[in-house]
């Protein structure tokens, strides 16, 4: 089904809002390590409604931004986001239907997997890996999933489309 031009604009508006939230609001929130990752949420919202290839490309661009702004190991963010974007879009088409709670939970799981991949690819030590994956990453995933739930509830109509074309 071809999405209308209005639907595309609506999704782009939401994604732009996510970018602003990520770079303008997130630094002002409480702990930056456990605040919602708005950029990743934007990627997931986009990936769940687009084809796997486009989602992988979107993940690559967001990973590029992540690597350019926090260059811990250049390329790790690109690969992690590419994989997560592709797998999210593919698994959404294969495994589950449109359900707000499932979508929100998927965002949380996706964020944890993204962190796992990034940490492994950037060569983090055992101790930081364990701490990140057991404390900070689950908290950030929970916060992001909760915010995803709010966004999906608020923009339910806007996100009830697929951008497959």
């Amino acid at each position: 089904m071809m999405p209308s031009r209005a639907n595309r604009v609506q999704v782009v508006v939401v994604l732009l809002v996510m970018v602003v939230l990520q770079f303008y609001i997130r630094p002002r929130l409480w702990g930056p390590r456990v605040s919602p990752d708005f950029l990743f949420l934007g990627l997931m919202l986009f990936a769940l409604r687009s084809s796997p290839g486009v989602a992988a490309l979107a993940g690559f661009v967001i990973g590029l931004a992540s690597d350019a702004l926090t260059p811990a190991h250049f390329g790790a963010g690109m690969m992690a986001h590419t994989v997560v974007g592709y797998v999210s879009s593919w698994s959404r088409a294969v495994f589950f239907a449109d359900n707000i709670l499932v979508n929100a939970a998927f965002v949380g799981v996706g964020l944890w997997v993204r962190d796992l991949l990034m940490l492994l690819l950037s060569g983090a030590g055992d101790r930081p890996l364990f701490t990140e994956l057991t404390i900070y990453s689950p908290l950030e995933a929970l916060a992001t999933a909760a915010f995803a739930l709010l966004v999906l509830l608020a923009f339910r109509q806007w996100f009830s489309i697929r951008l497959d074309a």
Binding site: V19, V20, F23, Y24, I25, R26, P27, R28, S51, P52, G53, V54, A56, L57, G59, F60, G63, L64, A65, D67, A68, L69, P71, H73, F74, G75, A76, M78, M79, T82, V83, Y86, W90, L121
Partner: protein, 347 residues
């Protein structure tokens, strides 16, 4: 079975995914310097708006924190400034009390006034000293400015004082010039809140000019002689041609007094010397200030001398160490030449 369009769709996705993955792998295996330079150029061009946004956010956050800090500092300063005048006033009163106690030759007990939030506070005062400190009924209560009243009753650790504002208060008094004597009592209008005293029973032939200081006379066996009671501010009335009644401005205010002295010595002693005139007090204060300044300058001089001694003591080992260093390091022959001479002379 998938249609041809679905297959191309899947193939296109796979190609895109593999391309992105390949680029990521290239970025991963590229030398770190290359990755950093790519990141730098991206930050300067494509992602510059994102960096700009983050910088603005950080500025906003820090300015908010700074605003909170400044507000907190302003509040604490305002709070401190609020208490400062009262602290200064209390400090001044305590200084005055201290100097009064130094001037008093008779024995006394210092007490705090425990003010009560009642309308009658000021007529009687609760004092923080009692019979265990040697206070007994009819002991005079004084402040640095003058007479406050007399102890009415005592408990072990507290006592009640009747001030000059009490309707039953009386004290035998005379003018500082000695030409008129009488009895000081609270004014009738004082009970309606004016807070003045009357100097009653002054013989008609004696006139007292305004501004004359009135002291306790020591008659009656309660108050010692010489405690300031008040200052004449004017004539109230003349009775039948034989008595004049003057209005007195009280020397001390029981309503605002915080600390008092209770004279526990027999009232026969003269305490007039403990209440010098304003000019004498001023001179004494200046004198004490000069003494304090002199003591400060002496202390400063001794501190300077001590620090100079410390410096010279610290410099001495440095000098010897420097000599040893210069001896140990190979130097130009011109500087090394005197060494054998020194050693020889030492021998």
């Amino acid at each position: 079975m998938a249609s041809a369009s679905d297959r191309s769709y899947t193939r296109r996705d796979t190609v895109m995914f593999l391309s992105c993955l390949a680029l990521s792998v290239v970025a991963l295996v590229a030398p770190p310097r290359t990755g950093l330079s790519v990141a730098d150029s991206l930050r300067a061009t494509a992602f510059a708006p994102l960096v700009w946004l983050q910088v603005r956010a950080e500025e906003g956050r820090t300015s908010r924190v700074r605003f909170r800090e400044i507000t907190g500092q302003r509040d604490s300063s305002a709070y401190l400034a609020q208490g400062l005048p009262s602290l200064l006033a209390e400090n001044e009163r305590l200084r005055q009390l201290l100097s009064l106690s130094r001037r008093l030759s008779s024995s006394y007990v210092a007490a705090e006034v425990l003010h009560q939030s009642q309308a009658t506070d000021g007529r009687t005062l609760l004092l923080s000293a009692g019979s265990s400190q040697g206070v007994s009924p009819f002991d005079p209560v004084i402040a640095p400015e003058g007479l406050i009243g007399v102890v009415l009753s005592t408990a072990e650790r507290t006592s009640i004082a009747m001030t000059w504002a009490h309707p039953e208060f009386r004290v035998s008094a005379f003018t500082v010039t000695g030409n008129a004597a009488g009895v000081v009592a609270p004014s009738l209008t004082a009970m309606t809140g004016e807070g003045a005293l009357e100097f009653r029973g002054v013989p008609y032939r004696d006139s007292v000019p305004s501004g004359t200081l009135v002291l306790s006379s020591g008659l009656g066996g309660v108050y010692p002689k010489g405690i300031p009671v008040g200052t004449v501010t004017g004539l109230i009335r003349e009775q039948a041609g034989w008595e004049r009644v003057y209005r007195l401005l009280p020397a001390a205010n029981p309503g605002s007094v915080g600390h008092v002295l209770i004279l526990v010595a027999p009232p026969s002693s003269d305490v007039a010397a403990a209440f010098p005139s304003d000019s004498v007090l001023k001179a004494q204060r200046l004198d004490s200030l000069l003494k304090a300044r002199r003591a400060d300058s002496l202390a400063q001089a001794s501190r300077d001398a001590a620090s100079a001694r410390r410096d010279s003591a610290a410099a001495r080992p440095r000098r010897t160490r420097a000599k040893a260093d210069s001896a140990a390091t190979p130097a130009a022959p011109a500087t090394r030449a005197p060494e054998p001479v020194q050693r020889d002379s030492a021998r």
